[in-house]
Symmetry: C2
Subunit: 309 residues, 2 copies
């Protein structure tokens, strides 16, 4: 009888519900009310400028993690960096769109196999809505899986998966295959807690104790850019809530290449990315993190302590 | 009888042999001993830096013609320029290789259809020899045709075809399909007279009065780069021979992007391309062309006066 009770207790500990009842701080071994943040650079691989600035922001600045766009032209450069820097916290920014005006890419899957993802010019669509109108979840699943396989082929051991422009996150059937790909490769996936309502899915029914919910997102808007990033990020860090915050930034240099990539699109443009780089490589940022008792963590920690435990 | 003689004379005028007996100067309406040169920038589309510098070198410098690499990431940018500048002399730099270290591209044809052109990573091979070892002339033909079709789809009306790294030129079976594609689309193709011996084909048997042989090639070697391009090009222009010379250059800026594209490869690297840009946008170059009575011509002239006459 005693054994049966112990087994029942152990079973309870391993259930998905129990896993999610414990806070992320407890699951990772931090104080219960700790403020955890992943300072995360998106869009690696998109350009040389993005790669060079993001590597510098990780090595010398406060950026703790970043994710790579596998279908992009500069993917081989960042893949070579990942291979020779295996401790860098690099995941995959699963990419279903190609949003810039004169600089484009297609899927990594043979176009004939994912016609719903490909426009008349053979590129991925520019907008999330265009993808939603044409691509099935099966096509999205195949493309995402092939992006993971390709990254591994290039020597990348991804610490996490997230979703470029949120495309894989905001349609319930895409979201399910996104979770599925994460489990298939035992890679943590970015799941924002705030998605539960708009997706109209009960996370209880979808996620397990191997998943991690991100409690808060801190990400600048075009209005924040107009008002100045120093204010925005300073306030954001000072007012960080306990739990896990995903601080999403885009680090690149305001150079000729990046201005050409982001032409006619000041939001998330070259100057924007340079400002992100400037703040997150500044001593002021480091001081803010320290003064406000913020734990800067990585996806590797989540992967190795939770997902692959 | 008189009519028969006239018909015979007309027939004689239209034969390929007669076409090639007349010099290029005569065929284009220049003085018999004129020195004609096409100052030609290769590799447009490879990078933003190459596009921006080459456009400037055509608009403000002495560059009269350029060719575009359709499979490259920055192809949409130069295609948009071509569409809005229909008088620019832009052809296609038919591309069968992807030679840089961390910045790669694949064919425009579905990879399954041209397996001999594609390496394990899905890119075109880095070297000409690797292409020669694996790709059939049928695969080369399909890829070249699809590059022309794609260029036209993007609004480019190509003035000529030439061959990136000479890949399509130096193997007799590739050379034949390269000629075939030119005829199919009525676009002049770059045929250097000096290829007759190494290709071991009689041009008499291959070319017609709709083809143009390029008499001379002026193109810098790594040794010329070490000795300084000003000397090399100055001497080259001063000693230009009568007939048609193809002056092959590569104009780009020595910036972060171009240094990253050409990493570990100083020959034809970023500094090399900046030097080409500097010389061919200089007043000294314009003066040399004038002082030496050189006619700077375009492929459009050849296309419209000879190939599409």
């Amino acid at each position: 009888m005693k054994n049966v009770i112990i087994i029942l207790i152990l079973a309870l500990f391993s259930t998905s519900i129990f896993g999610q009842l414990r806070s992320i701080q407890e699951r990772l071994g931090y104080p219960k009310d700790a403020k955890l943040v992943i300072i995360h650079a998106d869009d690696l691989g998109v350009s040389h400028s993005e790669n060079a600035a993001s590597i510098m922001a990780m090595q010398k600045g406060s950026v703790s993690s970043a994710s790579i766009m596998v279908p992009c032209p500069w993917f081989p450069e960042i893949a070579a960096f990942a291979q020779s820097n295996p401790s860098a916290d690099l995941g995959l920014h699963l990419t279903l769109t190609s949003e810039w005006k004169y600089y484009k890419w297609g899927p990594v899957t043979a176009k004939e196999k994912v016609p719903g993802l490909v426009n008349n010019n053979g590129f991925l669509y520019s907008s999330v809505d265009s993808v939603y109108m044409r691509a099935s979840a099966a096509e999205v699943e195949e493309e995402m899986r092939n992006q993971v396989i390709r990254a591994k082929q290039f020597g990348i051991d991804p610490t996490h998966l997230d979703a470029h422009m949120g495309t894989a996150l905001q349609r319930p059937d895409y979201f399910k295959v996104y979770l599925k790909i994460g489990r298939e490769f035992k890679i943590p996936v970015f799941i924002p807690r705030l998605l539960e309502v708009p997706l109209n899915v009960k996370f209880d029914t979808l996620i397990s104790d191997k998943d991690v919910l991100v409690d808060n997102i801190l990400s600048a808007s075009p209005q924040d850019f107009k008002n100045g990033f120093t204010n925005f990020y300073t306030n954001g860090l000072k007012n960080l809530k306990p739990g896990l915050t995903y601080l999403i930034i885009h680090t690149a240099f305001d150079d000729e290449e990046m201005r050409a990539v982001t032409i006619d699109h000041p939001d998330w443009g070259a100057a924007w990315r340079q400002e992100d780089f400037n703040f997150f490589t500044s001593p002021e940022c480091k001081k803010l993190l320290k003064d406000n008792n913020i734990y800067v963590i990585t996806w590797r920690e989540i992967r190795d302590k939770i997902v692959r435990k």
